[in-house]
Amino acid sequence: MIINHPLLGPRDAQEFTYLGDAGLMNRPYWLSETALQQFHDYLYLRENPAGEHRELWFHEQGDRSWLVVTRNTVTHEILKVELARDVALAQKAANLVQEPSQ
């Protein structure tokens, strides 16, 4: 497979290490009432669609960027590639607006 790196262009997927469901970026708050249940769901009940899947790839043999790759798990077609750090920063910003308590 070829992943079109946002900064480096097309790179062989073999340069990357796969982690999985991009939901792993949404780590629950450790002190919440239901932390145990939340962490259980976060770590163990991942998305596993036959179709579009947002997933994390690490460019281990490249620029060491974590990427969020949107890929179809049936056709392997890649529809979108983002820098995970940008995604995470955007989420943080959004979360701050929603739940200022944390």
């Binding site: 497979m1 070829i2 970026m25 145990l36 962490f39 890649i78 920063l89 943080k92």
Partner: protein
């Protein structure tokens, strides 16, 4: 048997063979001569050889069916010794001088094969017969039946000798990959090349031209082969076009990546020294054109498998390209016009064509050749080679026609392999009566020429140019259409005809001996799904993967089920297109080069000392340093331990991972990474740290040294250096993106040595430059700092101890590591310093009760390791929450303990299980297991570490250590894991 037979009785005039370059070769010990340009198949044919192999199941005599890579019958063992390659298709084996080939799957000889007895029992050996038998008595399957079956099965032999040849790998990038250099492929490459695109043109043949090389009809006023030569010449001088002959594109993978094997040296006896036999190319293409032509299909009729019965197009290829005929008289059997061309070409070459048998009542006449229209061949004769065919005439009468060969044609199937590799499904073309590529082609893939159903040369040329134009237009090229010669443009004229009705066996899959009867039986037993049909009858499972047999079998099944062929199923192909030598797929990564080797900074020095090395991951580390007179490794290891504990020892610990962590939030970041806290660690101090996975299981431990408020150096275990770095980047980029942290690995930048033992400080004081005070007060336990050594070389010093002794780790830039080791050894002479290896390191850490890889095995928690306290409840960290799950915190949870044999002499087997001192010995009563064990020269007894249920509370209790695997059982006592210096006075001294 080895008198050279020089007369090539079946050699015709003309062709693309160089009679000026005769080549001698051997087949089954008999010497022959062929010409440059021959394949083994054409050379054998020219020499009048028809019998070339035996079939898989019935061991029926077999000759050539085809002229190409789809050949199911003529498989030979090529070369000898380590280079012996089984199952080579004679049709693609280029002839070279001295070639030595042998027939296979026969005993004692090809003519007299004892296993042909199977043919007599054909009634018993029908499809799936073995599922119904060989079950009585029970034991006999493995003891008797299966060994016999296995011996009879298989084709060629592997010698077991190592393959002496080298294989290369490489990576090619292009705008357009053209697969196949026939008319369509050449036209495509020409179009794209002239447009300036990066083009790769690959063909499995050693000559470009594909079918053009086999056809007598010219393109306009020029011979097909000559036109191919002209195009090749033009492409060859284009800087943007790369031509790869002898290169099989075997697989279509995701996103335009194709796998290809170039045969660099299979056309010579052996590769030149240092040169590869084959090269595996991974081709990255933006677009690809599949121009792989078509494969002719046989007709099933009784005994249609005799040597001499071939595909009509193949006969034409041998006659026109290789100037060879399977016999002096050849009958044609067909359901289409194309085969008539074979008759014409053979006649033109002076081969006798007694008749053309055409199943079509309205078949067109062929001037000068008898046409038997509406007739069928119902039987053949000739055990080791065709003698005659029996024809049922249109009027029902039968007629026997003597002949040495039969050229049959049931029509042509587009060669779809690469279009199916991503599960694309071909569709049925009712006009061609064949499957053509469907709409679900791999992204970026186009199909041209006969492969897409453009069967005439003219249509192939034009579709090649068209497809290239389309593909490149997508990429933004402007593509002028090239002027192409006008060529033969006959429409496909064919009446579907699959098999002649009859009671005897009519072959569909020639290699695996699958007949029409087998398909009928499969249908009868409800194996009607095409995949069931294949798996039950083994149809299409042979080395040709059903290239010539799948469609015919589908047609028969369709008749039986009363469905259409497309309703019955389709033919899907999987990689590789043709079998690929394993050597090519492995490339250079074999033997010692399987993985890179990592050497430590003191490696050269250690070699001088005669150290014994051991693989630790990709690292080579000194395991121990034998001294003269030491005959057993234990002597060396015991000495290294004793010398270190008595005075001082030095160990290369460079392999530990080192990660530089900087930034305003560096401390907060480490708080997140480690179970224990680092925020309050003062500058100039080191702290031991434990890392958990998010599931709460411990996975790595190490230290973090704070060199500045915003600067840490983290060490990891050797095994987890890469993983820890990856996880740190994950936390940095994905979980804590707003933290100010920067990371980089420095594992290789620093040579690092542990200096341990009561005299460690004294030794280092001779190395560390005097302006740095490393006295116990100035540089206490767990201190760290940047210093200089040996007169100004920058270095780092950490006062940490894995051995439990007064110990330091000292680091200098790697290039100085060798020199520092030598300096320290010299400085240590006064103290009887010893280098120590990984064994002594292991002994000392067990004596000290430090957990290592055997304890951090991926299933143990901080609690199990006796480090439960380290998991801070005051802060978040990876693994914090899930480490509190009930199942991981039971009272009888496994705890790390020390173990001592009750009889000191006994050594403890790591991996032994622990049972109560008395009572049953079984899994239900398992109390734990031994993780690490060693002989402790310090205590003069074997010691071990292990996990025991509720271990911490069971000190002093005796258990049975059982090792049924090696019939061992012994009593052990549970003791503290800290065998030496439990109070830690030594390391603070």
């Amino acid at each position: 048997m080895s008198a050279v037979s020089t007369q090539q009785v079946n050699r015709l005039s003309g062709g693309l063979v160089d009679r000026g370059q005769p080549l001698s070769f051997r087949f089954d010990g008999q010497s022959y001569q062929g010409c440059s340009g021959d394949t083994l198949a054409s050379a054998l044919m020219a020499n009048g050889v028809r019998l070339m192999g035996r079939s898989f199941k019935y061991h029926r005599p077999r000759g050539l069916l085809s002229a190409g890579s789809e050949e199911p019958n003529a498989l030979v063992e090529l070369r000898t010794g380590g280079r012996q390659e089984p199952n080579t298709r004679a049709t693609v084996a280029e002839l070279y001088d001295g070639l030595d080939a042998r027939s296979q799957n026969r005993w004692p000889s090809l003519e007299r094969d004892m296993m042909a007895i199977n043919d007599r029992f054909a009634n018993f050996l029908t499809a799936g017969f073995y599922y119904k038998t060989f079950m009585w008595p029970k034991a006999f399957w493995e003891k008797l039946y299966e060994p016999i079956i296995r011996k009879a099965a298989g084709l060629g032999r592997l010698t077991g000798d190592a393959d002496p040849d080298a294989y290369d790998k490489g990576f090619l990038h292009c705008d357009l990959l053209v697969v196949g250099a026939g008319p369509a492929g050449l036209a495509a490459a020409l179009t794209a090349g002239r447009a300036g695109a990066r083009v790769i043109l690959a063909d499995e043949d050693f000559l470009l031209g594909g079918r053009l090389l086999s056809e007598a009809q010219p393109l306009a006023d020029i011979a097909g082969a000559d036109w191919a030569g002209q195009v090749q010449a033009e492409l060859a001088v284009m800087g943007n076009v790369r031509i790869l002959p002898r290169t099989t594109v075997f697989g279509a993978y995701d996103h335009g990546i194709y796998g290809a094997v170039e045969r660099n040296a299979d056309h010579v006896a052996a590769p030149d020294a240092g040169k590869p036999r084959q090269t595996l190319w991974r081709i990255y293409s933006k677009r690809a054109i599949i121009a792989t032509g078509a494969i002719e299909r046989p007709i099933a009729f009784e005994n249609n498998d005799r040597p001499g019965i071939m595909l009509a197009g193949a006969v034409r290829s041998f006659a026109n390209r290789w100037a060879a005929t399977p016999a002096s008289s050849v009958v044609i059997f067909a359901n289409n016009d194309d085969a008539h061309q074979t008759a014409r070409d053979l006649q033109a070459k002076g081969v006798d064509v007694p008749a053309v048998v055409d199943v079509r009542p309205d078949a067109p006449e062929i001037p000068g050749i008898e046409l038997l229209a509406g007739a069928q061949i119902v039987e053949t004769a000739g055990r080791l080679g065709l003698r005659s065919v029996t024809v049922r005439m249109a009027n029902g009468k039968t007629r026997i026609i003597p002949c040495g060969a039969l050229a049959m044609s049931g029509g042509w199937n587009p060669n779809l392999g690469l279009t199916c590799h991503q599960r694309g499904r071909p569709v049925w073309d009712g006009d061609l009566h064949a499957f053509v590529p469907g709409q679900d082609l791999p992204v970026g893939q186009h199909v041209a020429g006969a492969a897409m159903g453009a069967m005439s040369t003219d249509a192939a040329l034009r579709s090649g140019a068209e497809q290239a134009g389309e593909a490149l237009a997508d990429l933004g090229f402007t593509v002028p259409a090239p002027e192409l010669p006008k060529a033969e443009d006959a429409p496909v004229s064919l009446t579907p005809f699959w098999h002649v009705q009859g009671a005897k066996r009519a072959w569909l899959d020639f290699q695996n001996d699958v007949t029409v009867k087998d398909v009928k039986l499969a249908h009868q037993e409800n194996f009607t799904a095409v995949e069931h049909l294949k798996r039950y009858t083994t149809l299409g499972m042979a080395t040709d993967q059903g290239k010539t047999s799948n469609v015919g079998a589908l047609a028969v099944m369709a008749e039986l089920t009363g469905k259409s062929i497309p309703q019955t199923g389709t033919t899907i192909f999987r990689p590789p297109y043709t079998p690929v030598a394993m050597g090519a797929l492995a490339g250079r990564a074999v033997g010692k080069d399987f993985h890179p080797t990592r050497l430590t900074p003191s490696h050269a020095w250690a070699e001088e000392q005669g150290a014994v090395f051991v693989e630790v991951g990709n690292w080579l580390r000194a395991q121990w340093f034998p001294k003269p007179g030491e005959t057993h490794w234990r002597q060396s290891v015991d000495r290294e331990v004793q010398q270190t504990r008595r005075s001082v020892g030095i160990c290369d610990v460079t392999t530990l991972g080192k990660i530089d962590v900087q930034g305003a939030d560096a401390a907060a970041f480490l708080n997140m990474m480690y179970a224990n806290g680092f925020a309050k660690l003062p500058v100039g101090k080191v702290r031991y740290g434990l890392m958990l996975r998010e599931d709460g299981v411990a996975y790595d431990d190490g230290t973090a040294a704070r060199l500045a408020e915003d600067h840490f150096v983290v060490t990891t275990t050797t095994a987890n250096a890469v993983l820890v770095y990856r996880n740190m980047e994950f936390v940095r980029q994905c979980l804590c993106p707003d933290m100010d942290v920067q990371l980089i690995s420095t594992t290789e930048a620093w040579a690092q040595y542990a200096v341990a033992g009561p005299n460690a400080r004294k030794l280092l004081q001779k190395i560390v430059d005097p302006e740095f005070d490393i006295s116990n007060d100035a540089f206490p336990f767990m201190a760290c700092g940047e210093i200089t050594v040996c007169g100004g070389c920058r270095a780092r010093l950490f006062r940490i101890s894995f051995s439990g002794e007064l110990a330091y780790e000292i680091a200098v830039p790697t290039r100085y590591g060798d020199a520092l080791m030598r300096e320290m050894m010299a400085a240590g002479e006064a103290f009887d310093v010893t280098p120590y290896g990984t064994e002594a390191l292991g002994v000392m850490r067990i004596e000290k009760g430090h957990a290592a890889g055997n304890e951090l095995n991926g299933t143990t928690t901080a609690l199990n390791l006796g480090l439960g306290r380290m998991v801070s409840g005051k802060k978040d960290c990876i693994g914090n929450v899930l480490s509190r799950r009930e199942g991981m915190n039971t009272d009888d949870a496994l705890r790390l303990v020390g173990l001592k044999p009750v009889t000191p002499a006994q050594s403890l087997p790591a991996g032994g299980h622990l049972m109560a001192a008395s009572g049953p010995v079984d899994a239900a009563h398992d109390q734990g297991y031994v993780t690490s064990a060693a002989y402790s020269p310090t205590l003069g007894t074997a010691i071990g570490l292990g996990f025991v249920k509720g271990g911490a509370e069971r000190l002093g209790e005796q258990l049975r250590l059982v090792n049924p695997l090696e019939k061992q059982e012994m009593l052990v006592e549970i003791v503290s894991a800290h065998f030496v210096d439990p109070e830690g006075e030594k390391l603070r001294a």
